[in-house]
C-alpha cells in the first residue's frame, strides 16, 4: 500500500463498471454480446457491429510488453521520476496501460510475458485500486516481489 497521491482517473459514465471490478481485484473489459469484440475504453456501441449490448468479461490477466517509455520529467508531484509506463498487449487482444512492478527499467524487454496485479494507491480523489503488470516467470510470484 502506497500513500503517494496519483492523478485520479477521468470517469465517463461507461467507465464506472471497470473501476468497480478493479476495486474487487478483477480485470474485466466490456465485450460485445453480438459479435464478441472487446471495447476499450468502455463506450456506448461496438466499433465492429454497432450493437449496444455487452457483458463485462474477465480477462486472463496474461499479456506481453508491447512498448514502454521512461518518464524523466516530473509532471505529477505524486509520482517520483524516473518511472516506466508500459503498453501491454493482453492475451485477449486489447492493449492496456500500466506500470511494471518488480522489474528494473533497464531489464525491460520487448515481448516479455506479464501478468496483471492490483495495486492500492491514493489518488487526488481518494483511494483507488489500479491494474498493474509484473513479469511472469517460474520464480516470480507476487509475494517474492513485495
Amino acid at each position: 500500500m502506497t500513500t503517494t497521491p496519483r492523478p485520479a482517473p477521468q470517469r465517463g459514465i461507461f467507465d464506472e463498471p471497470y473501476w468497480r471490478y478493479a476495486a474487487a481485484g478483477e480485470l474485466r473489459l466490456q465485450r460485445c454480446s453480438a459479435c464478441g469484440s472487446f471495447r476499450y475504453p468502455p463506450g456506448p456501441a461496438c466499433p465492429d457491429c454497432l450493437a449496444e449490448e455487452h457483458e463485462w468479461t474477465a480477462l486472463s490477466g496474461r499479456g506481453s510488453l508491447l512498448a514502454w517509455t521512461v518518464f524523466h520529467r516530473q509532471y505529477f508531484p505524486g509520482i517520483p521520476v524516473p518511472y516506466a509506463v508500459a503498453a501491454v498487449r493482453t492475451a485477449e487482444g486489447p492493449i492496456l496501460i500500466g506500470n511494471i512492478a518488480g522489474t528494473a527499467v533497464g531489464d525491460l524487454i520487448h515481448g516479455m510475458p506479464l501478468t496483471a496485479v492490483f495495486e492500492d494507491v491514493t489518488t487526488t480523489d481518494g483511494p483507488l485500486r489500479i491494474c498493474q503488470w509484473t513479469r511472469l516467470g517460474p520464480s516470480s510470484t507476487l509475494e517474492e516481489q513485495e
Binding site: 496519483r6 492523478p7 485520479a8 482517473p9 477521468q10 476499450y40 475504453p41 466499433p47 508491447l66 512498448a67 514502454w68 517509455t69 521512461v70 518518464f71 524523466h72 520529467r73 509532471y75 505529477f76 509520482i79 524516473p82 518511472y83 509506463v85 503498453a87 486489447p94 492493449i95 492496456l96 496501460i97 500500466g98 506500470n99 520487448h110 494507491v121 489518488t123 487526488t124 483507488l128 489500479i130
Partner: protein, 394 residues
Amino acid sequence: MVDLARLSALRDTVAIVGVGETDYPEDYGRARRGERYQDAYGYAATAFRRALTDSGLERRDIDGLVAGPALAGERLGEVLGMDVRWADQADAVQAVVKAALAVHAGVAECVALVYGNDQRTGGTAYGGPGAMGGERHLAYTYYAPWGLTSQGALYALLANRYMEVTGLTERELGGVAVAQRAFARLNPNAVMRKPLDVEDYLAGRYICEPLRLFDYCLVNDGGVALIVTTAERARRLRRPAVLLSGIGRSDHNREATSLRPRLMDFYRPAQRNAAEQVYAMAGMGPSEVDVLQVYDSFSIHVPLALEGFGFCAEGSAGKLLSSGDLGPGGRLPVNTSGGHLSGSYMQGWGHLAECVRQLRGEAGERQVPGARTTQYISDVAGKVTSLIYRRARA
C-alpha cells in the same frame, strides 16, 4: 471512394497570395524576460496585417475568415474589424482545405487564414493532469492514474516500439534535430540558432525516454496568416502565385485511445491512403518533391512521414535521417525554416508559410534553389493530411 475527376477539378484553381508571420525570436526573448505584451489576438493581428500587405489586397477584399484553434472566430472578426460572408475554425491543414473548398465553391473569394497563440506567456500545459488536447484526444489524459499523459509521452511509446521493429537508433533519430537546427541557423526568424551536432543531441536530457529535449518542439508565442483566393485573381496580384495542387486526408481512429494504430501500425495505413490521394490529385510522386515540410511536434514524426509517403522504404528511414540529405544542400530538404523543433512552434501554420516562401524564392540563405514543388505532411495522432503546392508558371 476517391473520385479523381472531381478532385482534379480543384487542382491548381486556388492560390495562396499572402503570408505573414510574427517576429518569433524577439517575442521569445520577451517571454523569457517575463514580459507579457501581446495575447493570441495581438499576434494574430500582426500576422494578418503582414499577410494583407504581402498580398496587395485590401481588407475590404477579404470575404472569408478561418480562425486558428486557439482563437474564437467572433472575437477575431471583432479585433480585425471584419464582417465576412463565410467563416470557419480549423487547424493548419484543414484551414487550407476549408478555404480552398470555399473559394472553389464560390461562397468566398478571398479568405484570410489567421492563427495566433500565446501558449508560452499564457502558460499552456502540454503535460500533467490537464494536458492540452485531452478534450480532442482521449489518450492524452485517460491514463493519468499511471502517470501517462501528454502527446510527447505517447510519441515516446511509439518511438520505443518503432526502434524495436525497425532498428532505428537514437543517434540516427538525432539526425532530424541536427538537420533542422542547421536550417534554423540560416533563418533569421528561427528561435533556436545555436549550433547543434549529434553529440550535443545525445548529451541532451531525456524527457520521456527515448525522446530527448531536442526531439521536442519549442513552446513559443506567435502568429501566422495566409490569404487564399482564386488562381485567376492571383494572376492579377503582384506576388508570384502559389497554387494548391493536391489534397490528401485519411484518419486512423479505430482503437486510437488504446494506442493500437500508434504502436502496432505506426499510422501507416492512414499515411498510405493520404499519400495515394495527394499524389494522384497532383499528378506526381514523392521523387518530384523539391522541399518537404513535416508537422514535427516531435522528431519521430519525420521518419514516419518519410516512410508513410514513400520517400523511403518502410523501416529504412534511419539511414536517410543520418545521411545529411534532409539538411541544407541535401537531396530532400525537410523543414527548411527549422520546423517546430528549432524554428517556431506554430502548430503547422509556420510550415504552410514556409511552403509559400520556398516556392516564391524568398527564403534567403535557406532557399532551396529552383524549388517548384513543395509538400506538407501533417499527422497528429493518426489524422493524416497532406498538401502539395506548385509555383504558377509566369
